[in-house]
Amino acid sequence: MKIHEYQAKQLFADYGIRVPEGEVATSPAEAAEIAQRIGLPVMIKAQVHVGGRGKAGGVKYAADPVAAEKVAGNILGMDIKGLIVSKVLVTAAEEIVSEAYVAIVLDRTTKRPVIMVSSEGGVDIEDVAARTPEKIMKLPIDPTEGLRPYQARNLAQLLYHAPALVRQTAEIIMKMYRVFWELDASLTEINPLITNSRGEIVALDAKITVDDNSLYRQTKLAAMRDLEAEEASEITAREADLSYVKLDGTIGCIVNGAGLAMATMDLVKRHGGDPANFLDIGGSSNPQKVVAAMQIILSDPKVQAVLINIFGGITRCDDVANGLVAAFKQLRPSVPVVIRLVGTNEREAAAILAGMNLPCAETLDEAVQKAIELAGMPVTA
């Protein structure tokens, strides 16, 4: 789960990492008030869960409260890669002397948290990695032992020479590691970490991604979820305990298992269609889940056909069939629904669905091609 910059900065501040003074605003007038209170030139920063907001014009300087109101008015309501900006962070503009990059990520290969530092701050770190990989230092940390002060110091020494700056940076890295570990983050990042004209090291930006699997014990973070920043259908799906990602296509997909759901989407694309979504109804799918899944898919106006692909192992095909019967009764779908139910109890399922006269398919490719055809699109082999 991603949280916003203003929330991440608050958490960093709670752990004693210096961040510029700032507050979040939802209206231009509020932005002006905050700018007035801060009393310095400010930056107005769009709070959206998407990269490249600076390039998209979502981060702007304002010299005074009047300018802040105007700038905030421009940014609020802005569409950044399909997300509408409803909040801006109004934060003191810092005088930047130098910029660095510090991040801690969960590294799958070493199975350890890895700290990355680079003197190339303030730019896209993946560009740095691609062009000048020698400018990024990486240190895997033993998860049992945690980060040792000398390790943080050595990393800090790669960024600065002045003892005061090294000391401050080492402290920030130690604190960032605590944030990473104690808040079950899969990423904590400061880009840029700057030195200002007063010789202070400040986190000018802040990013924290929280491990979804830890939200049950990170209740404070779970409460930071911004429902406005998410697709309404994705929220409904989460509440129904379905794994769902909305896409832009016309073929709605209901599948059991994440891998098979991805493979089904891939085949839709391969045969000339465009998947409307990823949807995994999970392992032991009860009939209610199928109804909820159908409801979510059918409420997407773009959907021209629904493809149901179930490989029954633990999931019983007759459970899914019963769910489909209920869903048809309740929802009366106006688009064609193609069904492939294979595996555990497939015969029982076929008997349940026999009277409904639905288009069925034996193989995965066949099912996908039929769905595309019924959606009125040309099928490619």
Binding site: G51, D107, E126, G257, G259, M262
Partner: protein, 345 residues
């Protein structure tokens, strides 16, 4: 022969009195697995379908001689269950549980490794050796004894592939689901190594998906060390970046972990990649036919000639890492996923 489990496997079910645990204990037993006991603290002395239940893994191991455990314990307690199994001397721990925090798994994996045990999963369907044993939740009805090894990060997609093999008359030596989480105990490479050494396995199906760099590591291993043919499938071509596709580990971060990269890495290692799971049997048959024409196993490496040098595979595997320029106490980790674009100033 087979990998990881066989007729000598003696299984303990941790969380046997739960809904999933009891259901699958019965399923495993029906398949022919030696399910020798179960563990649920506080339920010791009872029985599930004739399987004795114990209060601790320690006690269960002492009384049953179990060498393998399978975990169906809810996420908050699952990591502890892994420690308990390993500390009791269990050599193979299979963790089915989905939703364990990554921090817990980083520590647990380290503990498992230090103890010299093997962990499969978490968030996996387990493994199956047709005709001998199944540990986990894979449906027993779809497999058939044979000589194709199957290794996958997925559950139902694996069943789809196994079923395709079985209906095409291709049996399996062992099928292993390694799990869909970012931090897992056993990697593709571990399984490929085992299949390479298993005399009964003649070819391997590898089913990967978006996220991480395990497929790229597998490609590097295949091109350097595998003499047996491998065919692949990668799920998630149509997945958008930055979105978790069900599995916690199935996410494209920045430009790392894309399906296209994985397909390219496998192809460069000489691995034919199927467009659909239904194409896998034909690819396996072709690979087996070609392998049988090769005079010596070692010579089949020549199939990797052309673009398949180890270097190119390793290059694809860790594009952002350069090995020299290591500050003494620094370790440059291969395959480190860098996060990009969402980096905003």
């Amino acid at each position: 022969m087979s990998i990881f489990i066989d007729k000598l496997t003696r299984v303990l079910v941790q969380g046997i009195t739960g809904r999933e645990g009891s259901f699958h204990a019965r399923q495993m037993k029906a398949f022919g697995t030696a399910v020798v006991g179960g563990v649920t603290p506080g339920k010791g002395g009872t029985e599930i379908d004739g399987i004795p239940v114990f209060d601790s893994v320690d006690e269960a191991v002492a009384k049953t001689g179990a060498n393998t455990s399978v975990i169906y314990v809810p996420p908050p307690f699952a990591a502890d269950a892994i420690y308990e199994a390993v500390d009791a001397g269990i050599a193979l721990v299979v963790c089915i549980t989905e939703g364990i925090p990554a921090n817990d798994m980083m520590k647990a994996c380290q503990h498992v490794k230090a103890a010299g045990a093997r962990l499969i999963g978490p968030n996996c369907p387990g493994l199956i050796t047709p005709g001998a044993s199944k540990v986990g939740i894979m449906p027993g009805a779809i497999v058939k004894p044979g000589n194709v090894g199957v290794v996958s990060r997925s559950g139902t997609l694996t069943y789809e592939a196994i079923w395709a093999l079985t209906t095409a008359g291709l049996g399996q030596s062992s099928c292993v689901g390694i799990g869909g989480d970012p931090i897992i105990g056993t990697s593709f490479v571990d399984c490929l190594e085992a299949f390479e050494q298993d005399p009964e396995t003649e070819a391997v199906v590898l089913i990967g998906e978006i996220g991480g760099a395990d497929e790229e590591a597998a490609a590097a291993y295949i091109s350097n060390f595998m003499t047996k043919p491998v065919v692949g499938f990668i799920a998630g071509q149509a997945a958008p970046p930055g979105k978790r596709m069900g599995h916690a580990g199935a996410i494209i971060l920045g430009s790392s972990g894309t399906a296209a990269d994985k397909v390219a890495a496998l192809a460069a290692a000489g691995v034919p990649v199927a467009n659909s799971p239904t194409e896998l049997p034909a690819l396996i048959k072709k690979a087996l036919a070609r392998a049988s024409r090769a005079p010596e196993a070692g010579c089949s490496k020549s199939r990797c000639g052309g673009g398949g040098s180890a270097e190119s595979a390793v290059g694809a595997f860790s594009p952002h890492t350069s090995e020299h320029r290591v500050v003494p106490e620094m370790v440059v980790c291969p395959g480190l996923s860098l996060y990009k674009k969402d980096v905003v100033k």
